[in-house]
Amino acid sequence: MRRPGARTFGRGRRLGILLNVLVMMGLAVAAAAIGIWLTGFTDLRRRFDLTQAETYTLRLDTTRLLEGLEEDVEIITIFDRLTWHWDVDQVRPKAMEYVVDLLQEYRVRARGRISVENLDPRIDFDRVRDLFTEHGLSQANVVIVRSGKSRRFLGLETDLAEFDFGAASPVFQPTRLLAYTAEEALSSALFEVTQAAQPVVHVISGHGELSLSDASEMGGSYIGSTLTRDNFDVRPLSLIAERKVPEDAGALLLLGPQTAFLDEEIVALDAYLRGGGKMLVAVDPLGDRSLDPLFERLGLRLERNIMCYDQKGVLRGASVTEMWVGPARLGTPGTYGSHEITNTLAEDGVVFVVIRSAAVSPADEAIPWFTSLLSSHPDTFGDIPDGQTKAGNYQQDPRLENAGQRCLGAAFEPGGAYAGARLVFVPSVAWVTNRALYNFPGNDTFLRRSAAWLIGRKRSIQLPPRRPRAIVADLKPGEEDEIFRYTAVYLPAGALVLAFLVWLARRR
């Protein structure tokens, strides 16, 4: 018989058991870690979308693209989720959440080719600041898609979701989320950064234009960073040195020349446009006029009067007027025309700001391919400048300066000898300066959309949008109380009755 208190096992045996237990536990934890890694971070991982509308199921085009990815892609979301009391803040987070969820599907499906980083500017402050500096960003709520040197930037409201911003008063008609367009935008961006050729945009220099290397407020360095975000290769071009427009030019940007072009340069531009060239023209009403004959040959008539508006929406300075153009409901003095460049702007309610502008019109009223993108208020008038380089007095002289709605920017496809050419014409240059692009999202979007329209860029992958499902129970007054009584009172009371019955049964 064993003595009380005697040990069952000897010391060596107990040490052996301890070691055995430790090894077993270590093996179990290691097996668990391997299992979690295998199922969570490798090709074995699967995500099944069981929603009725298959909200998160990637379309065939997308899955093919993801499975065929041969280059690594980095996707970074920068979403500011702070909610204010504006009605738009109630729906914006839904769109953000959807994009983040969809990217999970992209990441899993791409089998390690895609890395996704979700940043919140209020938490990941340093990282976001670095990205803003690196890419010349001024606003959050964007998605960066980048691979090697190629990159695309997608805006939440311009690319990833469709909103109805309702009426000016959110009380009467609050902002609504109409559709998610994220899959089309993300898949197209992925295609463009990994497979499509990078379109080249040349910025003409040598005549006092905005300079891509000038980072001052009135410089043009943001033009480069803005277009680079849309996967354009932006290069300066000296026509004086080159004598012709390079063959690889997807589009030309002419940004406020101040001194006259040489004849050879005009010939080079003319030849380029006759060959179906694309050009964004932003000219200062008080700037160089040597290209006016070329514009007239194209069918454009440029008024050199500075557009003024004596009422709401104009800030006047010594040499600058500002004209705000936006959806009519926002009460801006100017309105957008219907065109793929401005349609998104009109839906979003993003306001375009034209600073010191003239007006432009078709030389022949019958020209059908002229679309006014930006129209001024009917009360605006063109102030006649004093001489060539000085602005006028900004006061309407009723004898000379008639009020009336005028075109402040146009998309134009000339015919005849210039058939195939495309122009976006804005008789103002200050709208595209660093200050304007940084402060006004509408200007940034307008520039990007214009460049995309010029080169004929469509979404590389076209997919129908997804509508958010919203089934609402039709509750009448008092029915909420009824539901509360059924779920939080009667049902638990039933459990108490059961408890009593069981207690009774056990007593018997």
Binding site: G40, R47, T51, D474, V489, A495
Partner: protein, 248 residues
Amino acid sequence: MRGIRTLLILTGREVESYFFAPLMYLVLAVFLVLNGLAFSYSLIDMQGNVDATVRSFLGGSILFWINILFVPPLLTMRLIAEERRSGTLEGLMTAPVTDVAVVVAKYLGALTFYVALWAPSIVYLLVLKSYGALPDGGILATSYAGILLLGALLLAIGVFASAVSPNQIVAAILGMVFNLLLFFAPLLSLQMPRGRLRLALEHVSILFHFQNSFAKGILDTGLVAVYLIGAAISLFLAVRALESRRWS
């Protein structure tokens, strides 16, 4: 085969012990009050939008998380600790059943009662249907799958806590502490710089799992594995804890 029969018999006895205990119906009543409040307030808060209500009720409300984190330890606290304290465990251990069968049977009994706790919430759907609005079936399926998986994990942790505790009060507190750690520790990732640790913490966060997957109608095999492996590890540790009685 014989082992499975033994397991079924033991499980049946455990289930019986739950359903013939008046105290468990009190737990059920409290659980239903909290669930009812969560559901009604979600419905009002979401202005009748049924999918949003389901998301809020099943994963988005604080009452849901109180139920999820605190009820499993209450169900499992007595399983081994109380038997040990009252001395009935000795009898069980000398019976011709393995430690694994004992632990698994107790676990399955608790899991069955846990399912029974959630079953009445189906009534809420019938209420919604009577008002002409049925939630997305996929979201419901994955939400309940998430609740089942989470219950499976937390009950297994509770069984382990019960196996290493001297009495049921300690077992309940230990189980709750484990659950709270599991809930809150991964939230530290929100304040962490990007990196592998943050990614790993996010991957095991039960809150993120609900918010980003189950409550949205997505069943992720990676997450299912986290729960099943976690439950298996906890039960393995519980068996080892039970076995340790034989070593002294």
